[in-house]
Symmetry: C2
Amino acid sequence: MASELTSSGRPSMNDVARAAGVSLKTVSRVVNGVASVSPVLAAQVQSAIEALNYRPDIGASNLRRSDRRTGTIALLLEDVGNPFSAALHRAVEDEARTRDVQVLTGSLDEDPLREKELARAFTMRRADGLIIAPASADQSYLSAEFQDDTPVVFVDRPGHGIAADTVLATNVIGAAEATRHLIDHGHRRIAYLGDYTRISTARQRHQGYLDAMQAAGLTPDPAYFIPDLHTTPAAESTVIELLHRAEPPTALFTGQNLVTIGAVRALRRLGLHRTVALIGFDDFPLADLLEPAVTVIAQDPAMMGRIAAQALFGRIEGDDAPPRRHWIPTTLIRRGSGELPPGP
Amino acid sequence: MASELTSSGRPSMNDVARAAGVSLKTVSRVVNGVASVSPVLAAQVQSAIEALNYRPDIGASNLRRSDRRTGTIALLLEDVGNPFSAALHRAVEDEARTRDVQVLTGSLDEDPLREKELARAFTMRRADGLIIAPASADQSYLSAEFQDDTPVVFVDRPGHGIAADTVLATNVIGAAEATRHLIDHGHRRIAYLGDYTRISTARQRHQGYLDAMQAAGLTPDPAYFIPDLHTTPAAESTVIELLHRAEPPTALFTGQNLVTIGAVRALRRLGLHRTVALIGFDDFPLADLLEPAVTVIAQDPAMMGRIAAQALFGRIEGDDAPPRRHWIPTTLIRRGSGELPPGP
DNA sequence: TGTGTCTGAGACAACGTTGTCTCGCAGTGA
DNA sequence: TCACTGCGAGACAACGTTGTCTCAGACACA
């Protein structure tokens, strides 16, 4: 157990070499599984490694290696604590795991400055690639940041100012499907309630709503267009105000999770949860256990993460085809709230 | 815009030095904010940095630096996709952010082998510290893995075989409070339904249940002790079976999130959700919107993450006091399901 | 026996950066 | 004018590792 280290910290290959009575380079060969080492020496090296608890420093390795891979990718999401981001994160991790790659994560909180700070932090750590759900309006800074030699994949939201693979939900189609579903159930006064207009998914979902209304020959009433809701309390109070109007909508289409939940709370407080129809974009846990259960346009964050990670690793491994755009389909899940008829 | 790089990849300090007409070391001084550089040269260096989009390689920096900090910590959780882990992760990130530290994450899925693999992967990346919710029974391997020079903090579950700071919820107290609450509402036949017994939190919550029963002079019926439930479907079918027995319990105490949700589903299917009382350990979104709303013992994963991160950074910065144990209190939230009286 | 080939293993430089040492030069005081 | 001080800035080695080169020795063959 007596360790013969020159330095006080972790043992290095040199310490292992000394302990095993071989050259540094031979230790390197054993660690990297190069075949041309005689079994006798290899065994000596192995036991020295175990005696000293030697662990290679992949930072130093990376510095010298020709492929320059750190075995680390970066993942920038809206908020690793929210269910959508968390599910996507998990799927990325699963893909990374099969390749022995680790994942550095960061939350952007819709803050463009934070996005740039984190991009820089990850550049300085020489991540092999980046998956990002961008918060800022323009990602052209990324090509300078990464010198165009680190692949980038956009997920959930498209990037701007830089060509890269992109993985998106079918926001327009899904929102149109939700709206059409409400129209098919007899609704005409349908309100759209969405997130900040600067967020592209919010704009697309609104677009889908408009498309479906127009396709049905209905004129969307601007009074029913309610953007810039970002939190549950904001959505709740806004819905209460909306339903107190002289001519309230008979159906609500909510363009985001927290907004949907705010709407559910508001309808409950007003006792209108069995009267006013509701469809939310993005599924959430227990939606099926509410009264009435909430009809949603479900996204598939796990698939988005998986496809994004596969695209990224493809690029890291040398795929240099033109950037691709992957559409991940949404699904209408009928549960009750979206099938309520309009009042008399 | 013409870049004068020797190498084809990212520019190095050498490239910046050449472009600015100064020595490599002067660039290093400017990058590290050493004051003793004349303003003129510093400005030349700055503009060369910007022209070349130079970004320091903190891996190389770390290799040479005396403090040996990578500015990266590792976080090992049960599953970054579940709400508890995700909330904890987010809190750790927030603490790390104030210190310009990035977070490497990994999910263990109750797999001891995965725990060891990830510990090794993070050692090889020379993380400055580790926060872990352990899946294996013994973490003594960590002191070899980290050579005792990388601080470790256990969170949610205690570690074994290695002394380290530990951040735990008051599982026994919280579970006892839940059970007492049911007893106070007149229940005598109370079932405990929990996760795998090998998980320490599951054992502690069961212990709290036993404590409260005994304190009330009740003998816990072994038939009402139902361990090893890990998923919602398993919990759902088990609860259905349980309530079909000749003498079913009048109240359920569920020791974990997914089990609670399985119980809610089962009670709904049986139409007993207003008859059989239910208290769950760990809060979950929308628990207050169910019918009846679900009474829970709420944990505070964000506080657990924050305290764990603060403890870890304290150690990283040199705190060498004996290991501490931090207890994060749980809170009983009365919502209705836990206040139902026993049937006649 | 001499020559050539092969193989295993060590020597050395280099990756990008920082710690330490040294040196030149301007400014100071006698 | 001459030492002395102080300060800015460069030279050099080193961190832990791998790529490349070289060399010693075993072996085969003419």
